[in-house]
Symmetry: C2
Subunit: 145 residues, 2 copies
């Protein structure tokens, strides 16, 4: 069931993000609404550039500023993959890790349950609070092998 190109639960996410901007004391502007809608529509990893390109009527600076705002609020998270781009995803989506094919650069999302346990264990051993973590596994994918 869709409204335009957006399904109901996507609209919920959009509303939640807009609400969080409001709560944090920032203005809910038209540009921000549109940027958020676009992020939700993407449904996965995206780069700042891709986002900016799919919103040609919004200034690049505004896209970058909004992305930073969402990042600082924790609405969006950054993933670092060794190919000179920062990727973003919605924080609301489940936490997961990534495989990156060194040949074709295809990125897949995976879930290493064992890791979460190791990290919890590690947190007990050090005297610092863990905020988040980031794991990429570099592979040659089955298509490229």
């Amino acid at each position: 069931m869709q409204i335009g190109r957006m399904v109901y639960d996507q609209i919920d996410i959009v509303n939640k993000l807009i609400e969080s901007i409001n709560i944090s004391g920032n203005s809910v502007t038209n540009s921000r609404r549109r940027i958020i809608a676009e992020i939700v529509r993407k449904e996965g990893l995206f780069t700042s550039e891709e986002l900016a390109k799919s919103l040609p009527n919004i200034g690049r600076a505004t896209v970058y500023r909004t992305l930073r705002l969402l990042y600082e609020q924790g609405s969006v998270c950054r993933i670092n993959i060794v190919d000179d781009h920062s990727y973003y995803t919605l924080s609301s989506s489940d936490h997961h890790h990534h495989t990156v094919c060194k040949k074709c650069n295809k990125i897949d999302e995976i879930n290493l349950i064992g890791l979460e346990k190791s990290i919890k264990q590690f947190e007990k051993n050090i005297n610092s609070e863990i905020l988040s973590h980031n794991l990429e596994i570099y592979i040659i994918c089955s298509d490229c092998a």
Copy 2:
């Protein structure tokens, strides 16, 4: 026991890296020798910029080109940390993971033994060869807490 500021086993590493340039069919030049010596002297993570700065008489381009050569040869590896810089280390140094303090950006090397096991297990489950992996844990370090 040191020669200049360099100990014997560092000299071995330098020679090994120079040799690998030779073997791969590239020329062993003076600039490359000096860049390699500097990398070995650094003994840990460094950025391209730091490296270039500590070798002011060598052109930036040469530093970047040599770093890329070493990376492509596998002599050096890139570590991605979400702070807008690419970090490098010698591949010969033990594999380890990193904690990054979100406040002061201090980076520490750690070793999550459990993770290595999870990754090995994961490799069995997927149909792809794992080349390497990258883990950063974001924390608030004890100094900043």
